[in-house]
């Protein structure tokens, strides 16, 4: 049983090791901690990839670890790969990006602990473990957001903290109602007790609490106002981590709770409608507001909100009777591709700030000649986010579109909205590319930070690879979605 938790053990051991070794090192030697965390993430990634290989043979590796607290299936393993890939990018980028900062030990151990929380959240099928894991991941990121203790980062962290704690309150209250209604904290046992009885309205109430709570965490539209401020104010590698990993964790918990525990048809028709409305409003508002943003981090934050709207579409599709694996699989693939490209885009801002280049649109003028490799990977991420063919973002958006077409009816409206929004988003993504390459003026090329550039190029390569050879990734995400039900 313990060997199936090997990836988590590795991350936990390295997170603790980073703190303790930090105490023995002198200030100038602490860069070593970055390499130590990098080794931890790589080892854990190798262990998870081994699990993936097994899970491809039999989708459910272990149905009830620790008397039914966790379930290790292809779905969980898929997300663990996503979280570790993001952690890999962030740690690799942070070695360069935090070179001038103090308190490196705290930084890396918080990143690792947060990743650990996400990995447990991916496996949790029990409300208690899910809440503890989600909180481990978010509380670590509260501290990360305030890492530089400047005016801006503390303000961003305070806003993030207030909203994050409020959403935790909503979530735990919703969970307490679920427990009272069903007498159990296990998601599969809750599923049996829901959907009928005289307390139907309390079930709907619990559902609303959970949608609002996780709505804050994924920054869906009425609950989104914290995201632009936090992503803009937080240090760029932390913004990358927040947008690419923490947000995705909320989607994992949403999928587990809603698709497994609240799967009674009488409830599905209610929440699917709510999610449909949320998705429509979220993607439209996110993309429209992004049009007017002059700050790149803020623009990326609004685009993140829009992209979360695309993923929310798949929740609406679950009431349509269309193939569930296809709908959920489309969402999973978009979560994966978005994590890579959005994480990469924020790391580009981190690379730019390494040379004291700000994050306003004008600051990125001529980045194409100043930092050619960084600008090249930014172009890849932006084109992919816009959904241009032969990039990863196109594949996952197309899959979501296919799922809406398969569902038919009014769900087609969501698909059309997705296409319209993608066209709108192309404008503000292309604007950044125009500034990077066609601004005019004289600049000289600067040596790019090595590790950060490696992280960016690897991410860009992955984005192009998924875009050109999508087949295995599409079938992987459909299988992962299927393992949620079997």
């Amino acid at each position: 049983m313990l060997e199936s938790l090997l990836p988590e053990l590795i991350v936990a051991v390295f997170a603790l090791a980073v703190i303790f070794i930090d105490m023995t090192l002198r200030e100038d030697d602490r860069e070593f901690l970055g390499y130590l965390s990098l080794a931890g993430v790589l080892l854990a990634l190798a262990a998870v990839l081994m699990q993936t290989k097994e899970a491809l043979q039999s989708p459910v590796l272990e149905a009830g670890v620790f008397s039914g607290l966790m379930r290790i299936d292809l779905f969980a393993v898929f997300f663990k790969v996503v979280f570790l890939l993001v952690a890999l990018m962030v740690v690799l980028g942070s070695i360069d990006a935090t070179r001038k900062d103090r308190y490196k030990g705290e930084y890396y151990s918080l990143v690792l602990f947060s990743t650990l929380g996400m990995m447990f959240a991916a496996m949790a099928v029990d409300l208690v473990l899910m809440f503890v894991a989600v909180e481990l991941a978010t509380i670590s990121t509260f501290a990360l957001a305030a890492y530089r203790k400047s005016r801006r980062t503390t303000e961003a962290a305070m806003k993030y903290f207030v909203v994050g704690a409020f959403s935790s309150g909503l979530i735990v209250f919703g969970m307490s109602l679920l427990y009272g209604l069903s007498g159990s904290t296990n998601l599969y046992e809750i599923a049996g007790a829901m959907g009928s009885g005289d307390l139907y309205w309390v079930q709907v109430l619990a559902m609303v609490f959970l949608i609002a709570g996780f709505g804050y965490k994924v920054a869906a539209v009425p609950f989104h106002m914290w995201a632009p401020d936090t992503y803009q104010g937080a240090p760029s590698p932390v913004s990358a981590f927040l947008a690419a990993a923490t947000k995705k964790m909320a989607f994992v918990a949403l999928l587990r709770i809603f698709v497994v525990a609240l799967s009674a048809p009488a409830l599905v028709e209610k929440w699917a409608l709510l999610f449909g409305i949320l998705a429509a409003v979220t993607m439209t508002l996110g993309n429209v507001v992004a049009l007017s943003q002059r700050n790149i981090k803020r623009m990326l934050a609004y685009s993140s909100i829009g992209q979360a709207g695309y993923v929310l579409i798949i929740f609406a599709l679950l009431a349509s009777g269309a193939d569930v694996s296809l709908s959920v699989g489309a969402g999973l693939l978009h979560i994966f591709t978005h994590a890579i490209m959005k994480g990469g885009a924020f790391l580009v801002v981190a690379a730019a700030s390494y040379y004291m280049i700000g994050s306003e649109l004008e600051d990125f003028s001529n980045l194409g000649r100043r930092l050619p490799l960084t600008a090249l990977s930014m172009t890849v991420f932006l084109l992919s986010l816009a959904g241009i063919p032969f990039f990863a973002g196109f594949v996952s958006k197309f899959m979501i579109l296919t799922a809406t077409v398969a569902a038919g009816g009014w769900y087609l409206f969501l698909g059309i909205l997705l296409v319209v929004n993608s066209v709108v988003s192309l404008y503000y993504y292309a604007r950044v590319i125009r500034y990077m390459y066609f601004a005019g003026g004289e600049v000289r090329r600067e040596p790019e930070p090595a590790l950060l550039t490696v992280a960016l190029l690897l991410a860009a390569l992955l984005v192009v690879y998924i875009g050109v050879f999508p087949d295995s990734f599409v079938s992987l995400s459909i299988d992962a979605a299927g393992s949620l039900f079997s």
């Binding site: 503390t154 735990v172 307490s176």
Partner: protein, 101 residues
Amino acid sequence: MSVTVFHYVFLGMLLFSIGAYGLLSSRNAVRMLMSIELMLNAANINLVAFSSYLGNLHGQAFAAFTIAIAAAEAGVGLAILLALYRNFRTVNLREIKELRW
């Protein structure tokens, strides 16, 4: 009239509403922290009441974890609050607007 589980849940909901109102209506960071504590404890009352009503201990175990997490959250929250106060010399979020809302 005896006290039933509904009374406890009503108390929990009342407490949660007070916390939510306090959080949304005030801009003083200390008061917001206190409101957050109220909301988390409202859930605890629910959990413990349900646990005793249903006759199993899941709820009490959950409440113990929630208390621990509330403490961790308050710790990190107060640390951020202190850093904020050092930078701005105020804890009123209305006066803190480096970033555009």
